[in-house]
Symmetry: C3
């Protein structure tokens, strides 16, 4: 069980990451560290004053920076995008979740399902009729793929992912544990016998390179498709309701909720616990700060915050004014008293 620990000299490492070394090429680097941690064989990156200071206060193997910092004694790698260079280093430490090639004998795969020979299907996986799994896809234990689903090449379904019916994933999607795709949209019609479920017969379609965080749910459309565009990333515990349309390269943080038939543009950012009302439309390149609730359409790019969503600056001004409000009430009373006096005099 002894693990081979990787290790590089800076002379070996810099060509892998790109950039220019200022310092000792013989310095050995063994692991990534957080800025501020001390570790004589550790490497971190720093992109702002706050992190420069932390790095100065620690003993480290090397730091990746966009320009040299005065007074820094550590070895430095100058790189135009330190975060990307650090990400490259982190790639050297990725270790895939164990999964054997082929179809595990305990997997229950419908004879009509088409599994690419290069896909890996783990123990205790169920794959239903007329579903497809593409090349090099990884389907980890306890995943359920229902009927007429399609998993694109290179997708990773971590353990405990559920795809119900007619769910289509583009290439290279990553679905973290507990993700549920294709549950019925939340639609009912009142009737004398109570609420009747409106049958949900639509589908879910994810583009390429979509990531969905743990326990996130995306409901199938009533009719048509619930869609998430290429390169869009959702964090954990996010709710995407039926018939929602999300554009490409959008980022949605944890616990955000998007109600039925809402439309979210491209390169949108939604903060944690934010929400968009049903049938509302959010334009491209809009940022909704955490906890923001958009009741109405947001039509211009920019940063929005609050309930309802307003330009950040306006909400912050209102919050500042609200802090003064109890005092204002007193000042108003004083004015009214003064006016009364004036009136009497």
């Amino acid at each position: 069980m002894a693990q081979e620990l990787p290790s590089w000299t800076l002379a070996e490492l810099v060509p892998l990451l790109g950039g220019e070394l200022i310092g000792n090429p013989e310095q050995r680097i063994s692991r990534p560290i957080e800025a501020g941690q001390s570790d004589s064989e550790g490497i971190c990156f720093a992109e702002s004053e706050k992190f420069f200071q932390r790095v100065k206060d620690s003993q480290i193997g090397a730091v990746i920076l966009s320009q040299p910092i005065e007074g820094l004694t550590a070895n430095q790698i100058l790189h135009p995008t330190p975060r990307l260079a650090f990400a490259k280093f982190l790639h050297l430490f990725r270790r895939p979740l164990p999964l054997s090639p082929g179809i595990h004998p305990t997997a229950v795969v419908d004879p009509s399902a088409q599994i690419d020979p290069s896909a890996k299907i783990g123990p205790y996986v169920v794959i239903g009729p007329d579903s497809q799994v593409g090349a090099r896809a990884e389907i980890h234990p306890f995943c359920y793929i229902g009927d007429r689903c399609s998993v694109g090449a290179g997708c990773v379904l971590y353990p405990h992912v559920v795809l119900l019916q007619e769910v289509t994933l583009g290439e290279g999607c990553r679905l973290f544990p507990g993700v549920v795709l294709g549950a019925d949209g939340f639609g009912y019609a009142p009737s004398p016998a109570g609420l009747m479920p409106i049958p949900q017969v639509g589908s879910v379609e994810l583009g390429r390179s979509v990531d969905l965080g743990a326990n996130t749910t995306v409901d199938r459309a009533t009719v048509g498709k619930t869609k998430i565009g290429d390169g869009t990333k959702l964090d954990n515990l996010v709710m995407v309701a039926h018939n929602v349309q999300i554009g490409p390269h959008t980022v949605i943080a944890s616990q955000a909720g998007i109600a039925g038939s809402a439309t979210i543009g491209a390169q949108v950012i939604m903060g944690g616990q934010s929400a968009v009302k049903d049938h509302v439309s959010i334009a491209d390149r809009v940022t909704l700060a955490g906890r923001t609730g958009a009741f109405g359409n947001v039509e211009s790019p920019g940063e929005y915050f609050g309930l309802p969503a307003q330009p950040v600056r306006e909400t912050l001004r209102q919050m500042a004014a609200l802090k003064k409000l109890p005092d204002l009430v007193k000042r108003l009373q004083a004015i009214e008293a003064a006016l009364d006096k004036l009136g009497e005099s």
Copy 2:
């Protein structure tokens, strides 16, 4: 794998849905569509001006309406409740999730469990001691039914549903993937050794035709029962804490949370991300708009909004006034300056 695609003439379809045809009985209808989509064999419904306009702008097979619309060239089906008629049509497109009759050989069923012969138990299901599964119930893969649970006739447990102990489901409930019923309520007592869990020995009881959305959780009671009434529908990622009582025919949207021992009446509507504090009581026929937080009892039917919950109109008035607040601060300063001048003169 070729699928038989269903198709009807309007002459065949109208008797199935009810209503009166205005248009060509020979028109062929093959699929439901969203209002606004063009599809010469598609059918949709429309109930408001916004959707009438969309329908006018599209080429479709037919539309279901409550009364004829001027200037509409499409075939029309007049029906008193277009949404219900459309729901009937959608039923024709439902396709059950695959599940074979009987008990799958991989299911692990305790000998003391009672499984109705007409129930379907899928692969990789675990059913514990003294549990019961009623007639025609569907238990999909990876469901866990612990001990002394009871699943009513006609219930559907989608893949990955967990029932722990003493969970009772009435007839016809639908539990979507990732639902967890009967986890311990969140109760601790401080002690010198830290927080001691208060044993949670109560149960969970769902009435008839209750739907619970994906990844929703309902905790068992400390003592007694956590209860959800007949016909009540919960969306995804909803939290129902220990000892909560929810009345019948209530609708709770995604990511709403109900804290311990709260009581929610009948025909209540709770919007997305709304919340009710512990021990608080919400009367019948109350609507809490999305993101509303009820700190105190709400005793009269009606619509409420805000934090804390207030009648919608009041909250909207306050929100409107808040927008003016930064300006009010300036006006107040101007008044004070004017009064100072008056005082000096």
Copy 3:
């Protein structure tokens, strides 16, 4: 299937719970009840006026109190901490979820995994390479334990728990169904090809006696550890992002969210749906009321509420003032009119 129902006389029960009996030692007690419920063999506890009144209005076997109540006819057990005494009684009713000793034949356990002989591994469990399961630990069906994970002695993993890579649990942790530990942190770097995932190669470490509620997610660190301290308890559907540090004996209610690299102190209480922004620090013994959002550091112990988090009293004062705001607008207009008149005269 007949179950042996336990039952005690008060003479037998009081020595088990501690405290002093005022009443009939022959009274038979069979079950715990909620205060206010009538049951001649039931026992409850009461710690406040509201519950004293409920108990007076009901017919019960006995009540546990810290001091005698006037006018109460029921048998009383006087105990310094009624809630703890009641919790002791509840322990007598706990019934463990069924799980057989040893490793179930359907469990898929990597040969390199080390399972303590006293641990119980249920059906359909997957345990990966180099993982360890400690003494007396219970791993219920459908749990997935990935590689290099460590489960401490006495831990209980309820059905459907997922541990991915390098997740370490101290002794006596309880993980409720649907918990996901060690999914990738939500970190991406913009690149010309879209958002590139920053590899998440850190780990998750839980101290002793940590409880995590159903469907709660704790992400692995980018580098280093996401940590939760000894004795800390999280409710259902909570989000803990990468690199978060949570101190010991902290309590976090349902649907709360903690963003990346935030630090939460010891003995902190976070109410339902509350949130802490990324990189923000919350001091020891801080209480954040439900729905509170902390944007900035909270440095002193005490109770905070609102968005942004402020001392409770301040937020309540602002809320009270906000209710008056529409009226204030009118009063301000009246003053301006009066001043105009004064100016004209």
